[in-house]
């Protein structure tokens, strides 16, 4: 294992101090417990948005703290959901009297820890709602599993709910928008290589030089199936199939197409995948109306990518287009 770190035990602490140094004016970092908060928090009268999860997925979630998106992000240890304390502290820090929405990716640990934090916050009379993001269609038989995972669709939930909160929607309305995004977004990922968790020092799974893992999670949890390597277009076809069937997306729909890099795949390759994904959608009569491409929800140095498709309507489009000013997503100001 060769990593640009000083010590596996201090990765998160040092990284958040780098985040503070890199984005002054935009956000502030608290260190005990660790959370990242908008420089101007709490905003009186605005619903506060808090998300969080294991580290190693940067820019998720700290890169999305700022105007028009999250009010706070809570990074846990690498690939480990944060404990309730920092979630509670972040919730308190962003509470501007209009309540707080927790945006939680659907993993047992995330759900349980956010649940405890929400209970503790409620005990202090902070009104807290939660939306559980579960966009990953790779998980089959979700009745017999921990359910679908929350993956790259989380960015879209955070952006769109953040815009709703910024324009002054109340807690019910922001929660409803977040749930609407979650209901209309589907994702699937693939891995070419495995990530290496710093404290483990070995790849999270073994994968052959000619194999890929279809339906991978973002923590190195395995996916649907292990298959021999294929050309990019064939992989994209395999991923889009289950995505498009699931909602289903159909002829005449307008969508946001999001091709997300998992960290180690060159951008030039993501564009190759984007090209074919857009072609396939267009061929099915689906209009690619908004786009996003880049490394937004990563899995350390893992090579791979995910495709996310969100069905748009006028409201979601308007909220997507609204100004946002964060470290990783910025437009309109």
């Amino acid at each position: 294992m060769k990593k640009l770190i000083n010590n596996p035990r201090t990765v998160v602490e040092e990284a958040v101090s780098g985040i503070a140094a890199a984005h002054p004016g935009l956000l502030e970092v608290h260190t005990d417990p660790i959370f990242i908060v908008r420089a101007d928090a709490p905003k009186q009268g605005k619903v506060g948005l808090v998300s969080g999860g294991g580290s190693g997925h940067e820019p998720l979630h700290g890169g999305f703290v700022g105007y028009g998106m999250l009010d706070a992000a809570v990074p846990g240890a690498v690939f480990t959901s944060p404990t309730p304390d920092p979630i509670l502290a972040a919730t308190q820090a962003v509470n501007g009297g209009a309540g707080v929405l927790h945006i939680v990716k659907n993993y047992t640990g995330d759900v349980l820890n956010f649940e405890t934090a929400a209970d503790l916050a409620s005990a202090e009379d902070i009104e807290v709602r939660s939306v559980i993001v579960n966009d990953d269609v790779a998980v089959k038989d979700s009745l017999y599993t921990a359910g679908r995972r929350g993956v790259a669709g989380t960015v879209l939930v955070e952006k769109i709910a953040g815009a709703a909160a910024e324009r002054g929607d109340d807690l019910d309305a922001v929660t409803a928008v977040a749930e609407k995004v979650n209901a209309n977004v589907r994702s699937m990922g693939v891995a070419l290589t495995a990530p290496i968790v710093p404290h483990a020092g070995v790849p999270s799974f073994d994968i052959g030089e000619d194999e890929i893992e279809i339906g991978i999670g973002i923590h190195g949890e395995p996916g649907r199936e292990r298959i021999p390597m294929e050309p990019a277009d064939a992989i994209v076809d395999r991923m889009l199939g289950p995505i498009l069937e699931d909602l289903p997306f159909s002829d005449g729909d307008r969508v946001l197409l999001f091709v997300n890099g998992m960290g180690g795949t060159p951008l030039v390759e993501l564009y190759i995948a984007f090209r074919h994904a857009a072609e396939v959608l267009t061929g099915r009569g689906i209009t690619v109306d908004r786009t996003l491409i880049g490394n937004y929800v990563t899995s350390l140095e893992m090579q791979g990518f995910s495709i996310t498709v969100l069905k748009l309507d006028d409201e979601l489009t308007e909220l997507w287009d609204a100004p946002v000013q964060t470290a990783a997503l910025r437009w309109g100001r």
Binding site: P33, G54, G76, A77, V78, F79, T80, S81, P82, T83, P84, D85, Y107, T108, G109, L112, N113, E115, T116, A138, V139, K140, D141, Y144, T145, A146, R149, V197, H199, A200, V202, S204, F205, G217, H219, G220, E221, P222, G223
Partner: protein, 210 residues
């Protein structure tokens, strides 16, 4: 015979030691069917617990120690295991909050409360390939031993042995809860890391009571 605060402290210290020793092994198990952090997370948590024991009041009850373990694990472990084990110790503490010493009945009540706490938070059933598959047979064995009039040492030994069997018996299972559930058939042949850590914790309990 009954077990006092000294035993609870000894058990917690022995647990921290055995988790540290098995850190890499628990990471390995979790790497196979999860995300490879279980040993690291528990080791971080129990190391934090050790650092807090000195702060306990001299007249701390077993319930006080269990509660300290609970809150420390909740605030340091994270992941799925943090809240689950945290709840287990919290419920165990509540179950014995009036006992200065744990007699067989109190011990079984504590173990049962711990298991029930895990189930109420995680909603797993036996056979779902989780830590519940260690705790449920352990509680059953402890209760049976107590019914038969066993002493605390024997009760804990029965619980530990049952937990070890339960952990081993997760190997052929398909998981239905936690991260391993995404694997489907591919989880077969691998032991659940949480069941394994549960067996280690219960064996530490038996060893320190022997």
């Amino acid at each position: 015979m009954a077990l006092g605060t000294d035993w609870v402290l000894a058990w917690v210290r022995a647990t921290a030691a055995v988790i540290a020793e098995n850190r890499a092994e628990l990471v390995r198990l979790d790497r196979e069917i999860g995300d490879g952090d279980h040993g690291e997370n528990l080791d971080r948590g129990f190391t934090a617990v050790l650092g807090k024991l000195d702060g306990l009041a001299p007249d701390a009850t077993p319930a006080d120690v269990l509660k300290l373990v609970a809150t420390t694990l909740i605030s340091t472990v994270g992941g799925a295991a943090g809240p689950l084990y945290g709840t287990a110790y919290l419920k165990a503490s509540a179950a014995v909050k009036d006992s200065g010493e744990l007699d067989p009945a109190a011990l079984v009540a504590a173990l049962t409360a711990a298991r029930d706490g895990i189930v109420s938070r995680g909603k797993a059933e036996p056979g779902d390939k989780t830590m519940v598959d260690a705790w449920t047979p352990a509680v059953d064995a402890a209760a049976a031993a107590e019914q038969e009039g066993a002493e605390v040492g024997a009760i804990l030994d029965a619980a530990a042995s049952a937990a070890e069997r339960g952990a081993a018996e997760t190997e052929p299972l398909v998981a239905r809860k936690g991260r391993a559930s995404y694997l489907g058939e591919r989880a077969i042949g691998h032991r659940d890391p949480g069941a394994q850590s549960s067996a280690l914790i219960l064996r530490a309990a038996a060893d320190t009571a022997a």
